[in-house]
């Protein structure tokens, strides 16, 4: 039974990590919009290319933040959470005398 429980934990963590990365959609659309507008601006005023580009990169990097939240959660779910959850499960079962100590 313990193997099944650990398998469910791992599956849940993997699915959760996958769902967390849906957060990547927002920054993708947002940054695409920003770059499109920057291209338009450069097309209209080629002499202001430097200022537009630096502002765009800065804005893109800030817009990326929400996507990075998803990434951090995903990485935590893959590399950190399974160990913690398995440990909690084992200690709970031990406390309830389901497992030999």
């Amino acid at each position: 039974m313990l193997e099944l429980a650990i398998g469910i934990i791992l599956a849940g963590c993997a699915i959760g990590a996958g769902l967390a990365l849906i957060a990547g959609i927002g920054p993708g659309i947002g940054e695409g919009n920003a770059v499109a507008k920057a291209c338009e601006a450069i097309g209209r005023q080629p002499e202001s290319k430097g200022a537009v580009t630096s502002t765009m990169i800065m804005g893109c990097a800030i817009a990326e933040t929400t996507g990075l939240y998803g990434l951090v959660v995903g990485i935590l779910l893959i590399f950190v959470a399974p160990g913690i959850f398995t440990g909690v499960l084992k200690s709970t079962l031990e406390a309830m005398n389901y497992l030999p100590k």
Binding site: I57, M58, A61, I62, E64, T65, L68, Y69, L71, V72, I75, F79
Partner: protein, 299 residues
């Protein structure tokens, strides 16, 4: 000993001080990393623990590397400014002047000339952040990919922001939370706390994603080269040739571009938050009131 010789000696000493901390970190890392097969994405190596009342204080690779970065930047500054003259007579003085001028310009453009004294702080944050991210080029665990370090900086910046907000008096600061209507108070408080959280997560996530992707690509290239070049006789088959050089291409984006970009953004956000959070009107009113009080007390 002649003066020129003495200057040269000091220069060499300072150059050693720039390079040696990193060499020390690399040697320490090579000696202490446990050998392992395949990929392992773990946090920083824990060198030793100091028992503390709440929980043990871990001294990790990250602390050691960031101390090395600090020593290195300090020596770099000493080296750049060693033997400066009114009329520049060396290339490094020109470089140092260029950097200082750029930072001053940045402060002037983004915060106004009132905040000129902020330039060293912003330059320090930018420098330590950029150098920490670049240290992964040497194979070290970059300190910025550990939440603790970046959160420390973010909390420092948060304290400074709050300090500047409180300059207009405590009452306007508290009142600011209940605007535009009192119902917004919880959201405003959450927004206030979100500032350091988002600043640290942004920087940490960017650098960490580079580390994770670099590790995955490294392990994949190791497997690929074993598949393709595994037939080579003897120990030649064990050497992952494909790992040589190819991951460096990714480094250009993830370490150099991303690291420099995040350092710039961290400094930029610091400047913007401080400059926009400062309640100018209230501060001037308060100063005027204080002056009046002092005048009446003098009379």
């Amino acid at each position: 000993m002649s003066k020129a010789k003495k200057d040269k000696m000091i220069d060499i000493l300072l150059l050693c001080m720039i390079i040696l901390p990193f060499v020390f970190c690399m040697v320490l890392k090579v000696l202490t990393t446990p050998g392992s097969e395949g990929i392992s994405i773990t946090g920083a190596l824990v060198y030793f623990e100091i028992p503390m009342p709440l929980m043990p204080l871990q001294i990790t690779e990250v602390q050691v590397t960031s101390l090395a970065v600090i020593i290195s930047i300090f020596s770099l500054c000493l080296y750049m400014t060693h033997g400066i003259a009114v009329v520049p007579n060396s290339k490094r003085q020109l470089v140092a002047e260029y950097v200082v001028e750029k930072v001053n310009h940045l402060i002037h453009d983004n915060m106004g000339s009132k905040y000129a004294s902020f330039a060293p702080f912003v330059a320090a944050i930018m420098g330590i952040s950029a150098f920490s991210s670049f240290s992964s080029l040497l194979g070290l665990f970059p300190p910025t990919s550990d939440m603790n370090i970046v959160a420390g900086w973010a909390i420092l910046v948060f304290v400074i922001i709050t300090h500047y907000k409180l300059k207009g008096g405590i009452f306007p600061y508290v009142k600011g939370f209940f605007e535009p209507v009192p119902i917004f108070a919880p959201f405003n408080i959450i927004g206030e706390i979100a500032t350091p959280v988002s600043m640290s997560f942004r920087h940490y996530g960017n650098v960490l994603s580079g580390v994770v992707i670099a590790t995955l690509i490294n392990s994949a290239l190791g497997g690929l080269s074993e598949m393709i070049l595994g037939w080579l006789p003897g120990f030649l088959g064990d050497i992952p040739f494909l790992r040589v050089g190819i991951p460096a291409v990714l480094s250009v984006y993830f370490d150099i571009f991303s690291g420099a970009m995040q350092a710039f953004i961290f400094a930029m956000l610091t400047m913007l938050y401080v400059a926009t959070g400062f309640p100018e009107e209230e501060y001037e009113k308060r100063q005027a009131k204080k002056k009046k009080k002092a005048l009446s007390a003098a009379q």
